[in-house]
Every structure is written in structure tokens, then in C-alpha cells.
Amino acid sequence: MKRLLAASTMGILAGTTASFAQGSTLTVAYYGGNWGEAFDACVAKPFAEATGVKVVAEIGNSTTTLAKLQQQAADAVIDVAYLDGGISELAQESGVLQPIDLGTLANAGALKPQAIYKAGNDVFAVSAGYYSLGLTYNTQEVTETPTSWDALWNEDYAGAVTIPSPNNSAGVPFVLFLNGVYGDGTGNLDPTFAKLKELDAGLLYDTSGAASNAFQSNEVIIGPHFNVGAWDLIDAGMPIGFVVPKEGVWATDARMHIVKGTKNPDAAAKFIDTALSSQAATCLAEQLYLGPAVDGVELPAEVEKKLPWGEGGSIDNLKLFDWTEVNAQRQDITDRWNREIAN
């Protein structure tokens, strides 16, 4: 409590001190399922224990949360919102976010430079951790560990390959990622689409659950899959491997935002500060294999290898795209995919 008071007196927004002292609840929007459980255990609980502020969870996926934020623009109910990369930019554009003053956060110093998202000089989001779309394969059918994305076109795996469709959040960025690997460097997508047409895929998945199902039932044996999904299968004893090929992997992150018009700005800032702590990052890495967005997190080797950058990798192996550019190309890529790939 002393530290909190100290933090609040350090706060620039002096007028909000009172509201922080009175605020006994903080409304945080995050995902359902095991992600929600992990956020609850790793961030919300320690935060509540440290501050006495009760966290009210507002469960929903990123799109739904953004819709809520827009509805509540006049009278914000949600104080802190978790949003995926991509939606985060949309939220920023629609003006429902409040800048985060990193100076007030004790743990902000440890943030990796990539993990801070700015619009102009204002920070509108900080990363809560990374996840990637790595090369996932069936270790019984694919006996040699693949080292390159070229493996997708290996004739031995014809008909048993899976890639995400544009209906999946990874679909459009994955096309752009492949264009980085196989394109001519100009942003022209023709070579990549030509390559995709050659691909004999058994499943173009809409949901990561469908991909997990297909790997589990041996319907597909190789393809890009989220590190979280892949390691869930491996941990369940499936003969599945997950690697980061030499070309790297596309990755994105879950991000935290303070909502414009929040009535508890100090508690919101403190919540984000708690999430940036080494303990929280460790906890999330262990539970969701989320790659920490802060430096100085020591993880056991067992957890280390499940991170989005793979064993011995680092955040430099991740291709993190500017979602604004991805979103700008979404309609065209989706349309082209429909015409050339999805039939």
C-alpha cells in the first residue's frame, strides 16, 4: 500500500489520486479459455493481492472487445483491454485508447524495444507476450527435422500439408511472411501466390483448433501452427515437433491497453506494471508459452524451448509485421486467395 501511494504521488495526473484510492475494482477485458485462466493466475491475482483492488474480468475475443470499447466510448466501463496485434492498431485508429506513460511504470525499463507501440510520441500499447506460427510436423511421418519452409513443398508430404486461410488471424500475415521468403523483394505477391498454388495442401484451416484436430488425427503431417497449439499437442504425448526454420517465423503478440476515459487510471497503470513484472512473464511463459516482452526473465530449459522463437532462439528470429500494413492488404489478399487458392 505504501508503494502504491508512492506511485500515485509520483503520478503526473494528480487529480486521479483520489479515484485510485477509492477504486476497489478494475475491469479488464481479456480472452476466454486457457488464455483467460493464465492471465487471471499470472497477472490479475498478484495484482489484486498487492493492491487490494478486485479485478473484474470482461471475457471476449479481440474483435468483440473492440466493439465494446467503441460502444462505451462515452462512458468507459473497461479500464484495461487485452487485444491482439492487428486489432490493437484498429483500436488506436478508432480513438478508444489512452496513452500509457511508461515513466510511471516501475517495470517499463525492462521492456524490449519491439514491445512498445507508439502512435507519434504516445505509447498506445505494450506487449503482453509473443506467440509465433512455427513449422509444426508429425515426427513419425517427417523423420528428418525440417530446417526450412521449403519442406511444405516436399513431395512426400503432398496432400498432408496445412496452412492457415485468410479467415484465420494468421492467414494474411502468413502470406506476407512467405512473400518475404519467396518474393522478389518488391512486395509483388505473384511469385508467392504461384508458389501457394503449387502447394498440395490437405487443409486450409480457419481456426487453430481445426489445425490441432488435423494434426491429432494424422490428417495433416506438416504445416505452420501456433507454438501454443503445437506444444499443447506435444505435451499431450502426440508425436509432434515444432521448429523455427532458418527463414524465421511470423509472430505476433497479445497487447495491453489503457482505455480512454478510464475512471481508474492509476490502478490500470499498476495492472500493466504488474503484467510487465518478471514473475508475470515467467508465469505466462510457463502456462501459455508466451515469449516474454521484457528482458531478464530466467526460464527453465523445459519452458525455454517452447517459446515462440524456439530452442536457442531470440526475439530476433520473429518476423513482427506492422499490422497497419497487413490490414491494408487484407481485402486484396483474401480476395485473391478466394479466387486462386480456395477452389
Binding site: 490437405g202 487443409l203 484436430n213 488425427s217 494424422n218 490428417e219 483474401t334 479466387r339 480456395a342
Partner: protein
């Protein structure tokens, strides 16, 4: 008296309000959005985008091909099944068990069902394993991600609707009519085509229309079984709403689907009426 009448009015207004709020309003919203630009101005551009593009026609044709084939297969399989349930099964417990077995698929979740399809129809699923075990094929046959796969899934889900409507019509045919036909010298086949089938035609038609409407607008089954490699109109519309966020174009796609569907059902009804009239004239 006045009190009871106003109560009645109030009671009647409830379903009307529910119908308006949950059916007409959303439909109106979709309709209006399909005629507007992203900025909210009136336009026919959305429909131009749909109809002047051969790709969309290709999707429309695929959609209708799958729906019409599903309907035909459901009716052709459904009629004998309904016959079995209504005419052959005498033991009521067994009939009930058959009906439950028939509608059971409707109660399973999509996830369970799609997993089941992979186990059954997949690359290394039961069907392919059996065919390979029997030495009939070398490479697995592709079911998933093909129209055949979607058809199998559709028929599986929609068959109960055909069986129940046809069975209902069949149960209402007076057995004396079939006996009269036999008595007048018709063999069983002639009796079926001259008496039973015409008398159950309304059930066949109703079942067909139900199956067709559900097949043409189906999203989940084609989405799960197409493996992302076959596209039907509902998937295209859903994609506009869920990932591209173009509600205007999505609306135009939805209304196009609705109009084509109603036109085809209207045509089928008209043709069947024409058929009945011709038969009467003969």
C-alpha cells in the same frame, strides 16, 4: 370483455414483436447495408461487384450444385428410409430407436462431428484404410476438401429432415388406396408410381424444400469439410463479416443468396404445380 380483448391483442403482439425484432430487423439491416457504400450513400455497386464477376458466378454455381445434389440424394435415400420406418418396422421400440439414431447427428457439436469426419473420411481414416487394406486403391482417396466430402456431410446432417417429412406424408396414405390399386390389377411398382408417390409428393416436395434451404445456406458443414478448398456463397458472405469487415459487400452476397434461393424454390413449386395440372388434364 374489453379487458380480455386487449389481453388477446397484447398476447398477439408479443410474437409479432419478436418476429420483427429478431427476423425482420436484422434482414432489413442487411438489405440496407447491401445498398450502401462504406460511407452510407446509396449504391448498386455492391451488387455489381457480386454479379459482374465470373468468380462469384462460379461460387454461386458450386453452391447450388452442392445444395441440389444434397437435396436429390436426401430425397432418394430418405424415401426408402421413411418407407422402412413407416411401413416395415412394426415394433414401436425399434422404430423409436431408428428415429433417435437418425436425428442423433443433430445433437453432436460441430467440433466432435468434424473430428469424426476426419477419423472416417480422412487421408488415413477408416474408409481409406479399408479400401487400401482391400487392395482397391494405392493412394488414399481425397474426401475432405472436396465437394464429395461436403455432400457426404450435408446428407448426413439433412437426411433426417427428408425422412421425417416424407415419413409423415407416407403414414397419412390410406393403405386401402394401395390395396385398391393392387385389386384393380396394378403390380407393386405400378401402385407405387401411380398411387403412393403422387399422394406423398407434397411430403417429398416439403422435405426437398427444407433440405434445399438448409443446404444452400449451410455454413458450418461446408466450412468444416471443405478444408478451405471449396467455397460456397455462405462462406464468402461470412468471411466478409468476420475477417474483412466489409458489411456492405457481405450484405450484398447474403441478399444474392437469398434471392437466388427463393427464385429456385419458387420455380420448383411452379413446376410441380404445372406437373400436377398436366397430370390432371391427361
Amino acid at each position: 370483455m374489453l379487458g380480455s380483448r386487449s389481453t388477446l391483442l397484447w398476447l398477439l403482439s408479443l410474437p409479432v414483436i419478436v418476429f420483427t425484432a429478431f427476423f425482420l430487423m436484422p434482414l432489413a439491416v442487411v438489405l440496407i447495408s447491401s445498398f450502401t457504400t462504406g460511407e452510407g450513400d446509396f449504391t448498386l455497386m455492391q451488387y455489381g461487384k457480386v454479379l459482374l464477376d465470373s468468380y462469384h458466378w462460379q461460387v454461386i454455381i458450386t453452391t447450388f450444385r452442392i445444395a441440389i445434389l444434397s437435396t436429390l440424394i436426401c430425397v432418394l435415400l430418405g424415401y426408402p428410409l421413411a418407407w422402412y420406418l413407416v411401413r416395415i418396422v412394426k415394433w414401436r421400440t425399434w422404430r423409436r430407436a431408428c428415429v433417435i439414431l437418425l436425428i442423433l447427428p443433430l445433437f453432436t457439436s460441430n467440433i466432435v462431428r468434424s473430428f469424426g469426419w476426419m477419423v472416417l473420411l480422412g487421408r488415413s481414416g477408416l474408409v481409406n484404410d479399408a479400401l487400401r487394406g482391400a487392395g482397391l486403391i494405392d493412394r488414399p482417396i481425397k474426401f475432405l476438401g472436396t465437394e464429395t466430402g461436403i455432400l457426404i456431410g450435408m446428407v448426413y446432417i439433412l437426411l433426417p429432415f427428408a425422412v421425417l417429412t416424407i415419413g409423415n406424408a407416407l403414414a397419412k396414405v390410406d393403405p386401402a388406396l394401395e390395396q385398391a390399386s393392387r385389386d384393380l390389377g396394378a403390380d407393386p411398382a405400378r401402385t407405387f408410381f401411380s398411387v403412393t408417390l403422387p399422394l406423398t409428393m407434397h411430403g417429398v416436395l416439403a422435405g426437398g424444400i427444407i433440405v434445399f434451404s438448409m443446404a444452400i445456406s449451410a455454413y458450418v458443414t461446408p466450412a468444416l469439410l471443405s478444408g478451405g478448398k471449396v467455397t460456397v456463397l455462405a462462406m464468402l458472405a461470412f468471411q466478409q463479416y468476420s475477417t474483412v469487415f466489409d458489411f456492405n459487400f457481405g450484405g450484398a452476397l447474403s441478399i444474392t443468396l437469398l434471392v437466388f434461393t427463393m427464385a429456385l424454390i419458387g420455380l420448383a413449386t411452379w413446376l410441380s404445380r404445372l406437373g400436377t395440372a398436366a397430370e390432371k388434364a391427361a
